[in-house]
């Protein structure tokens, strides 16, 4: 599977051209994925009245949709690993559209749970993961900008969908509105069609096969060829774990950077969304009228819209790109500080200042969220990584706001909720900062010893111009994206490593500058 990559040398991420069209497609997909469950709440009052259910019962629709969207991560990762981004996004778009049209005929609330919640949520997850994956395939040097632009889809779509949903509700009722939303979701198919696969259809070709090859005695997946058969195991009956590791790269759990990222993010998500949800009620509690409270959210969204591409540009600069994890940790920690200071804000302008700060840091975190993951694991394993990350993040994302709500009920004071969220995020930021510092140290050490090894090889292999070559070698290594350093770090960390030549060959395959 991966060996084919070495047969087409000199080709790699485009970093421009059609890549920007792909970014636009990802913009649409990601926008729908994140904004749709939130914008759907506009219809809830009407549906609640129609079916005569309580507010918590109708709120389940959104919760189920979000839960399935996050939990469906591994499924879409597997599909992307197998078939590539384009078919999965198109399927996701069709699923979403059909689910909404089916939901418009719902005769009770359970139909809505099934159609909108489960099928719609699954469709959205088929939109989200592949969009993120394909950016990593198309971009290397300008990847932070591409990520920032694509993630900006979420606030843009939220700002557009919310008033649009209100208009559709008034004009067509909730059933008619659902039908039209279904049609709009079919546009995700257009986004998918734009995601032209690299090298005409073969997925993840420049990448090496999953590193579990070493552990599974070189059972090559997909071909069904087992080079060294394991005892009683036949061609057809491979263990569940092996099958899983074929499609989903579970060796990521041995990846130091991945574990750090996962732990930090899971901690962070406990306090990430709650302040956003409670901002408007808090503003009303402080005496602002409804329109002022709504204007706070609008200000937040507009700042968010600008902050995401802005952060992408910032992250792309040479200085930041090499140590992008620090920027991410800083953004998370700053988020925490912002929330801790929120109860001090007084009056309308104090809250506006808070909303603007919050918008900036929220945008920063969102823009860097997947860029950092890509930076840590590299584009080849990113699709598996993002699937694992989203399914594990599912829990804090869903549990966070209700816990914040429970704190609110318990103390009756919004300040405690903000303190909790701020403390959680500050801790997460500091944790990420220190652990990434340690990680970078380890990677630098690994790189230095690897360079020494290469230098030695050069000296023994060729005469003359050695010094120059090794210098150029160093320069090339410097110029490469940090992900390569991370990748080389991984090789050191893994318990089972292939022999040196295999490593070097894989390094070459991945080397984009050749």
């Amino acid at each position: 599977m991966g060996v084919a990559g070495a047969s087409a040398p000199g080709y790699g991420p485009l970093d421009g051209g059609w890549g920007w069209v792909v970014v636009f497609g990802a913009f649409i997909s990601i926008g729908f994925s994140y904004a749709f469950p939130k914008a759907l709440t506009i219809y809830f009052k009407e549906i609640q009245r129609h079916f005569s259910v309580s507010y918590s019962q109708i709120a389940w629709v959104s919760s189920i949709m979000l839960a399935v969207m996050y939990a469906g991560g591994p499924i879409s990762s597997v599909l992307v690993n197998r078939y590539g981004s384009r078919p999965v996004v198109i399927t996701g778009g069709v699923m979403c559209g059909v689910s909404m049209v089916a939901a418009s005929f719902a005769s009770n609330i359970t139909h809505l749970y099934m159609c909108v919640g489960i099928i719609g949520g699954l469709g959205l997850s088929f939109n989200l993961q592949p969009s993120l994956t394909i950016i990593g395939k198309y971009f290397q040097v300008k990847r932070p900008i591409a990520n920032g632009l694509a993630m900006a889809g979420s606030p843009v779509f939220l700002c557009t969908l919310a008033p649009l949903n209100q208009f559709l509700l008034d004009r067509f009722g909730w059933r008619g509105g659902f039908v039209i939303l279904g049609a709009m979701l079919f546009n995700c198919c257009v986004a998918g069609a734009l995601m032209r696969p690299l090298r005409g259809g073969a997925p993840a070709v420049p990448c090496k096969p999953p590193p579990t090859r070493a552990r599974t005695q070189e059972a090559v997946c997909g071909d069904g060829v087992i080079e060294r058969p394991r005892g009683r195991e036949s061609l057809c009956r491979r263990s569940c774990a092996e099958n899983m590791s074929c499609f989903l790269d579970l060796s990521l759990f041995h990846h130091r950077g991945f574990i750090i990222y996962l732990t930090g993010n899971m901690l962070m998500f406990f306090g990430f969304f709650a302040p956003m949800i409670f901002l408007a009620p808090y503003a009303k509690h402080r005496g602002l009228d409804e329109y002022s409270a709504a204007s706070l959210l609008s200000a937040l969204a507009i700042v968010d819209m600008v902050a995401r591409p802005g952060t992408g540009l910032l992250a792309n600069t040479k200085l930041v790109r090499r140590r992008i994890q620090y920027l991410f940790s800083f953004a998370v920690a700053y988020n925490g500080v912002c929330h801790l200071l929120c109860p001090l804000a007084s009056g309308y302008w104090g809250l506006v200042a808070y909303a603007l700060c919050y918008g900036v840091v929220y945008g920063m975190v969102c823009a860097l969220l997947f860029e950092c993951l890509m930076d840590l694991v590299g584009p080849c394993r990113f699709s598996s990584a993002v699937g694992l990350v989203t399914v594990l993040e599912c829990c804090p994302v869903l549990v966070g706001p209700p816990i914040a709500g429970a704190m609110l009920d318990m103390f009756g004071d919004y300040s405690y909720m903000f303190y909790m969220c701020g403390a959680v995020m500050l801790t997460a930021g500091l944790f990420l900062f220190t652990m990434n510092y340690y990680n970078y140290q380890q990677l630098d050490q690994a790189k230095r010893s690897q360079d020494k090894g290469t230098e030695l090889g050069e000296r023994t292999g060729q005469h003359g111009g050695q010094h120059g070559s090794s210098q150029a070698d160093d320069k090339i290594v410097e110029e490469q994206a940090p992900s390569l350093e991370q990748e080389s770090g991984t090789f050191r960390v893994k318990a089972e490593t292939e022999d040196n030549t295999m490593q070097q060959q894989q390094k070459t395959e991945f080397n984009p500058k050749d």
């Binding site: 039209i180 079919f186 546009n187 198919c189 690299l198 090889g457 090339i476 070459t508 500058k513």
Partner: protein, 270 residues
């Protein structure tokens, strides 16, 4: 004997005096006017007789205390001025003197009803149910509610006929229309409330959305999606013969290091 009789009569007279005194201690309020009917403004006043000590006084309307009318003045006279009598200020006024026990008197301020629609424009779907609501906050509350369908001819709606149902309470009336028909039921409706002093009416516009109204935008958007996807795929197919590897290009490495790159690669692959 005569002395005893005189004592007894004196005693009885004394008792009678006490009784009279006690009787004249019963407080009485003279309210003026006794009721207000169909006036633009009024001055309500209460006069307390029977003189027990007065701690203060206040007014209330329909049982709710009027904050501005509260007075701590020790007086047996209190008044309340209503500059403009409208549906908000009409009601059952009560002047209360804070004696022990408290005494009060009612003055009714009546006027013709004011009826308003809860929502002036209602939207509903075909074959669905619609409910049109009218409310009234006047005094006295309407005793009679009537609904009409406006059109070329103003027709009265009778409860129970066709698909109509009228449910009225003291201060509101609701017209339910089942199984909406887009041709017959769309239009203007009038609700009228009547009490002893007059009647008032308000209009509601009912819009019935056709079941298929959403179908045309849906088909339009789906057509747009299909066209765009087709264009994208055709464009890609046509470009394919021109490019060996669509979507990727030879990387432009620095000319200076180009040679070195190749060297590096060769070394590494050994």
């Amino acid at each position: 004997m005569e002395v005893n009789m005189r004592l007894m009569w004196g005693f009885i007279a004394l008792l009678f005096c006490f009784h009279q005194a006690a009787a004249s201690a019963v407080a009485k309020i003279q309210a003026d006017p006794s009721s207000v009917i169909n006036q633009t403004s009024a001055l309500l006043s209460c006069n307390l007789t029977g003189v027990p000590p007065v701690k203060g006084s206040y007014w209330s309307r329909n049982g709710k205390l009027l904050e501005k009318s509260k007075s701590d003045a020790i007086s047996d006279y209190t008044s309340y001025h209503i500059p403009k009598i409208d549906s908000h200020s009409a009601g059952l006024y009560t002047c209360v003197f804070m004696t022990n026990p408290e005494v009060e008197e009612n003055i009714e301020v009546k006027m013709a009803p004011h009826v308003s629609a809860y929502k002036h424009s209602e939207n509903s779907n075909e074959n669905d149910k619609a409910s049109l609501v009218c409310v009234s906050h006047s005094y006295p509350l309407p005793t009679d509610w009537k609904w009409y369908k406006l059109g070329d001819v103003k027709t009265a709606i009778v409860n129970g006929t066709k698909n109509y149902m009228i449910r009225s309470t003291d201060n509101s009336s609701t017209l339910y229309i089942e199984n909406l028909d887009i041709n017959a039921d769309m239009g203007d409706y009038e609700c009228a409330g009547e009490n002893e002093l007059g009647r008032h009416a308000d209009k509601i516009h009912l819009r019935v959305r056709s079941r298929l109204a959403a179908l045309w935008p849906f088909l339009g958007i789906v057509a747009e999606v299909i066209i765009l996807v087709t264009i994208i795929f055709i464009y890609e197919k046509r470009r394919k013969p021109d490019e060996v590897n669509d979507g990727s290009a030879p990387l432009k490495s620095n000319a200076a290091t180009n040679h070195k790159d190749k060297n590096v690669r060769q070394r590494n692959s050994n």
